[in-house]
């Protein structure tokens, strides 16, 4: 049984076909990188997996841990262990980051039928993790992503990843807009998350991230389909030669 199995997936965004017969398998313990030109459908795939409204599966299957993802509510997917790090994390003024993280964690525990963790214990854990990602504890008191810089928002996504401990992490360009230090911090966070039990789908434009997070496979998405797959050397070739050779 694969952690994630996508077969012949077709999906529309607001009635427009974007994903066209996409197939992909991620096993536990694996990291898959997804690269591809702007507008090729990478974020669409991520959003379809997470169940964003407006993204409609028109054909194919998606199973996650043997459960059929299509038709599952977004919160049920999250509770089942799917995590999407947003390309553009949302700002929510008036809701503190800490309260948001605690609510998210509580909902995971509740879904598993577990008792809620004490607020004190959770806050301590959150503060320690935040510090390890170079996020000042002050960020936990601020509104969710409110006024965070681009890099701070991405660190905050990784903080959520580490706190929620999902089975599959879909990271949509979490490396974009990061300075060199932040890139290393975020990469270290992902490597820390990585284990034999979970998987990562890493959407990126840059080979440099893959120097820090070594993928098991690299796929190229173009016009809604995977047009090439290979090991990390595929990413190096793309970096050097671009995407044009793929369509020749």
């Amino acid at each position: 049984m694969s952690l994630l199995a996508v077969d012949g997936l077709r999906a529309d965004v607001n009635g427009k076909p974007i994903l066209k017969n996409l197939s992909l398998r991620v096993e536990a313990g694996e990291i898959h990188a997804i690269m591809g030109p702007n507008g090729s459908g990478k974020s669409t795939l991520a959003n379809v997996l997470a169940g964003r409204p407006g993204y409609e599966v028109t054909a194919g299957q998606v199973s996650f841990n043997d459960a059929d993802l299509v038709g599952m509510a977004p919160e049920a997917r999250a509770q089942a262990g799917l995590f999407l790090a947003f390309q553009y994390p949302v700002e929510i003024p008036g809701v503190s980051n800490m309260e948001f993280l605690k609510a998210a964690w509580d909902s995971h525990l509740a879904a598993q039928g577990a008792q809620p963790e004490s607020a004190v214990g959770f806050m301590k854990r959150a503060r320690t993790l935040a510090a390890s990602l170079g996020l000042n504890p002050e960020f936990l008191k601020r509104g969710v992503n409110e006024g965070f810089s681009g890099g701070e928002k991405k660190r905050n996504e990784i903080l959520q990843l580490l706190l929620l401990e999902p089975k599959l992490a879909v990271l949509d360009e979490t490396d974009s807009g990061l300075d060199i230090d932040a890139l290393q911090t975020v990469a270290a966070g992902v490597n820390r998350f990585r284990s034999a039990d979970n998987g990562v789908l890493l959407i990126t434009h840059y080979q440099r991230l893959l120097n820090h997070i070594v993928p098991d496979q690299v796929h190229v998405l173009s016009e809604g389909r995977i047009v090439a797959s290979g090991d990390r050397h595929l990413a190096e070739k793309l970096e050097a030669e671009g995407y044009a050779w793929l369509s020749e």
Binding site: A73, V90, G94, F100, A103
Partner: protein
């Protein structure tokens, strides 16, 4: 309009108003401006309730610090109250009922906030003028918060929409702030009495470089009509207002704000977040008036409204009147539902839909909280959603 005219004829003009002025004030009840500004609330009913309310002529029960003194308004050296009775005729009626009013004269900066009690239900208080001397700073507070015992906010007694104030329950107050040059006043009000019925006028005049901060937060299950008029009369005078209101099922809130930039370099910053739940009616009318002489005026008004329920009615009307080219003016009013992006973000983290909606509603309200009651008000809002 069937204002209780007979009852009005029995009233005598308040001491600071001559007979002719009072006649005009009574006329204004039937005037065009009254019709416009009372489009969403029943002026005749409120006027009648005022005429029949208990007149509260005693001095306000304020524990005065040594830096401030209390006087009868008509025995003080204060000039007549500057209230536009054409716009606020109810102020004339309130004064006719409850007497000339009182003056709190703040001559030096008090070390503590002045706590101004709200009138009792069914009572109309005499107008209160707070005069702040040049360079002084005063904090004014009025607070009716639920007790912080973790229990949910009590439900309003009445079922269904509060169509109008019941004649017996309306309370009324008129507060006038007069800020001398370089002075500063902070007005913080928290109104969480579940089925309050209130009309109030807050009238402020600011001289050169004076600064006024307003933080009004409330949960309305009954009827609340708030008139606020701030006149930035002196050069460089500044207003900063941040407020949040939860209009609960059956509640009716009507906020009418008029800010007048009457001098050069005056600044106003207004942010009001109102959430209408259940079957309720929520009105915010924000009017910015920039006068001819107010070069370099800078106004920014943002009113955001959330209608949680399809049967909640929200009215928001931005009004700009600008008689000067050299100004900066931003005026935004929105009515919407919860932000779909934010909702999906929370769901994608595993929160249940109802939890996410609650958190976003609460966040929206808390984003409109500031000042000394921000924290207890946030708790009171949270208690509401916990019991909703």
């Amino acid at each position: 309009m069937a204002v209780g005219v007979e009852a009005l004829q029995d009233l005598e003009a308040p001491p600071w108003l001559d007979a002719e002025g009072f006649r005009r004030c009574r006329q204004a009840l039937d005037g065009k401006l009254a019709r416009e500004t009372w489009k969403y609330s029943p002026l005749p009913k409120v006027a009648n309730a005022l005429i029949r309310a208990d007149a509260h002529r005693q001095p306000p029960a304020v524990a005065l610090p040594p830096e401030a003194a209390l006087h009868r308004l008509d025995e003080s050296d204060a000039p007549p109250l500057e209230i536009d009775l054409n716009r606020y005729p109810l102020a004339g009626i309130a004064a006719a009922r409850a007497g000339a009013g009182w003056l709190i004269d703040v001559k030096r900066t008090p070390s503590h906030p002045l706590r101004i009690p709200a009138p009792a239900p069914g009572a109309v208080a005499a107008p209160l003028l707070v005069r702040v001397a040049p360079g002084c700073r005063v904090e004014l507070e009025q607070e009716a918060l639920p007790r912080n015992d973790g229990s949910p906010m009590p439900q309003p007694k009445r079922g269904g929409v509060a169509a109008m104030p019941s004649p017996a329950g309306l309370r009324a107050q008129v507060l006038v702030l007069s800020l001398a040059a370089d002075s500063e006043a902070h007005w913080a009000a928290a109104q969480f009495t579940p089925d309050v019925e209130e009309w109030s006028l807050l009238q402020a005049h600011l001289q050169r470089n004076a600064a006024l901060t307003l933080n009004q937060q409330c949960a309305v299950g009954g009827f609340l009509r708030q008139d606020v008029n701030v006149v930035l009369g002196g050069q460089g005078a500044r207003l900063a207002s941040v407020g949040a209101a939860l209009v609960r099922d059956g509640g009716r809130l009507d906020q009418q704000l008029v800010v007048e930039h009457a001098s050069r370099g005056t600044v106003s910053r207004i942010k009001q977040h109102n959430l209408a739940a259940g079957r309720s009616r929520c009105t915010f009318n924000g009017r910015i008036h920039i006068h001819v002489g107010a070069a370099g005026a800078d106004a920014d008004l943002s009113n955001r409204n959330l209608a949680l329920d399809p049967s909640a009615e929200v009215n928001t009307k931005p009004e700009l009147e600008i008689y000067n080219d050299d100004v900066r003016c931003a005026h935004g009013a929105t009515v919407g539902q919860l932000d779909a992006e934010a909702l999906f973000y929370l769901l994608s983290r595993g929160l249940e839909t109802w939890q996410a909606q609650r958190l976003l509603s609460l966040g929206f309200l808390r984003d409109g909280l500031a000042g000394p009651f921000a924290e207890p008000a946030a708790e009171a809002f949270a208690a509401h959603f916990a019991s909703a």
